[in-house]
């Protein structure tokens, strides 16, 4: 494990997730090009970039939805490039989706229960009622309380306002107790009056989880992230602390500038 640790300013950090020359082509389009990326344990890392920069493709490569054309994905030093999506989840990579993917006809509590039951290995059991796994139900309910969703626990997800649905999206991922959490625009589509509930939830995430957040809302990025990577045209354009990125004139030109002039 020593090889995984590196010194940064006297603090020993451990790399949880790493990519080496990760690439993905869609025909002639090089969506992701030779990305070397490291996500440390406990990281609060933002991935930003203009539309079409390949951010979601990159996340899909990390989670195993897509297979890379080239390169490797390492989790805790172990090569997981060949692992299927479900196996990577078992190894501790969870994600949320840019557009909600929820069990819309089921209650909020049951949405979380499905994830928790899957994690604790209960979900393959056929011959006793799910209601008897009170450990699963209690843990799911507790999680909803920490996200302040307990009052909605009974409701069908489809009956919830969009901001709350985004919270359920987050709850399902947290219910998997991941070591690495990939958040694809968690505040997307949430009215600004409600966006604080997402931010509050993000700030209360367990400290040890390595979080990678894709986000367009710069307020969210600068409030939440301790490190920022800028992607442009499928490649890493710049990386640094939020202050460095904000001060970087080239980044301002390609990305922040658009917002500034707009």
């Amino acid at each position: 494990m020593a090889a995984l640790r590196r010194q940064t300013g006297g603090v020993v950090t451990e790399t949880r997730l790493e990519t080496q020359a990760l690439s993905r082509d869609f025909g002639a389009l090089r969506a992701v090009q030779k990305i070397d990326f490291k996500l440390d344990a406990g990281a609060r890392h933002a991935l930003i970039g203009p539309n079409g920069a390949g951010k979601t493709t990159f996340v899909n490569l990390l989670t195993g939805v897509l297979t890379p054309t080239q390169g490797r994905v390492l989790l805790g030093g172990r090569d997981i490039t060949a692992k299927a999506q479900a196996e990577r989840v078992k190894l501790g990579i969870a994600r949320t989706f840019q557009i909600n993917r929820l069990f819309r006809g089921l209650s909020v509590l049951e949405n979380v229960c499905i994830a928790v039951a899957e994690r604790v290995g209960a979900a393959a059991s056929m011959f006793y009622p799910a209601g008897r796994r009170t450990d699963v139900i209690a843990e799911s309910m507790h999680l909803l309380e920490t996200l302040r969703l307990e009052d909605q626990a009974r409701h069908r997800v489809s009956e919830l306002p969009y901001g709350r649905q985004r919270l359920v999206e987050l709850a399902i991922a947290i219910g998997l107790k991941p070591g690495v959490l990939l958040l694809d625009e968690p505040a997307a589509g949430v009215p600004s009056a409600e966006s604080h509930i997402i931010l509050d939830a993000l700030e209360r995430l367990p400290e040890h989880i390595a979080v990678l957040i894709i986000e367009h809302d710069m307020d969210v990025v600068f409030r939440f992230a301790r490190r920022v990577t800028v992607m442009v045209s499928g490649a890493i354009f710049a990386e640094g602390t939020p202050k460095e990125i904000e001060a970087n004139p080239e980044v301002r030109a390609v990305y922040l500038g658009q917002a500034g002039h707009g």
Binding site: F97, F103, I114, E118, A130, I137, M141, R154
Partner: protein, 345 residues
């Protein structure tokens, strides 16, 4: 592990005391009204002995629809080929009995289930890689292939004419299947249905069943929570196929013949209509749908022998327009609107 925690300790409000948690904890408990279909079935036996033939047909239809509900209603596997398994079960019983290999009814029925389950497993491994219309077409293909195979192997299967006059041994060596009275057939079918129903009920309320509804509600998300989706679907499809096979075997035994109609697209469509009519994904939809469909067929066909299907068509249009979740769904909506409020206040 605190499985089977003591229910309702009133001291402090634990997460399990939350109403949402209580719904999940108590969902599998038997309700009083769940005895009604069985009481009605027993009542029919004593009250209308002349209708036991119709009753047996009804029980077989319920079992078939129940099998389909597990795959289509709970796991969301879109299929129009479930007669493949009904026919496999029917021909298993038919071939064994006709050629004098095995006529004992209960073990034949188990074999029918096993044979259909194997067909379900093998075809499921291939077709459950696809979704939507492709899946639908492949299920029809499987059924058509089996129907043609049964047709072409006419030296053994009797081809188009099927196998008549199957010699079925008495149940437990005592209760004979009489061609004149349907008492034995009816009770036998009722007990088989009860056993299969208890199995399906256990499955749908189990954690496995919960994961199936997850797959139905959002397949992509199930991948993302680490669920082995395809394995779950194949297992579900296999069990559903085995149950459909038992329904087919039961059909062959109680009718004492098999023919190609057991593999028919017509039969596959009918069971789908039954399920949609009653309401899919809700366990009792199979019961309500089968009663509604067969009652319509039986009585409408008597009044309008040529045009009874028009009535059925109109009913389906109404269901599709106003009651997407079938008769049971409509009942639930009405209850929530009128009855439920009164009960709550």
């Amino acid at each position: 592990m605190n499985v089977a925690a003591s229910p309702a300790r009133p001291a402090v409000a634990t997460p399990l005391d939350h109403p949402a948690a209580r719904v999940l904890i108590g969902r599998h408990r038997l309700r009083w009204w769940e005895t009604l279909p069985w009481l009605a079935a027993v009542g029919l036996y004593f009250a209308f002995p002349a209708y036991l033939g119709f009753g047996t047909e009804l029980l077989v239809a319920i079992l078939f629809a129940l099998a389909l509900d597990l795959a289509l209603g709970y796991a969301g596997i879109i299929t129009l080929g479930h007669a493949a398994f009904f026919g496999t079960g029917a021909y298993t019983v038919g071939l064994l009995a006709f050629w004098g290999i095995w006529t004992e009814p209960i073990s034949s029925l188990v074999l029918a289930g096993v044979a259909a389950g194997v067909v379900g497993l093998l075809s499921g491994l291939v077709l459950l890689r696809t979704r939507g219309l492709t899946l639908l077409m492949l299920t029809i293909c499987t059924m058509a292939l089996l129907e043609q195979a049964a047709n072409m192997a006419h030296d053994y299967t009797g081809g188009f004419d099927g196998l008549p006059s199957l010699p079925i041994a008495p149940v437990f060596g005592v209760f004979e299947f009489s061609p004149l009275y349907d008492n034995t057939q009816y009770v036998y079918a009722l007990i088989v249905l009860l056993i299969c129903f208890l199995l399906v009920r256990t499955l749908v309320y189990s954690p496995f069943g919960q994961s199936l509804t997850g797959i139905r509600e959002n397949l992509l998300r199930m991948h993302a929570v680490g669920s082995p989706v395809r394995r779950r679907l194949v297992i579900c499809y296999t069990i559903s196929a085995a149950l459909a096979g038992i329904a087919g075997g039961l059909w062959a035994q109680t009718n004492a013949y098999v023919n190609l109609s057991t593999f028919d697209l017509d039969r596959a469509a009918t069971v789908l209509i039954v399920l949609i009519l009653g309401g899919y994904g809700r366990l009792y939809g199979a019961f309500v749908g089968a009663v509604a469909y067969l009652a319509l067929e039986h009585f409408l066909a008597r009044i309008y022998p040529t045009a009874w299907q028009l009535g059925l068509g109109l009913l389906l249009v109404l269901i599709a327009l106003f009651a997407r979740n079938g008769i049971l769904g409509l009942g639930e909506a009405l209850w929530r609107r009128y009855g439920g409020k009164r009960a709550a206040s």
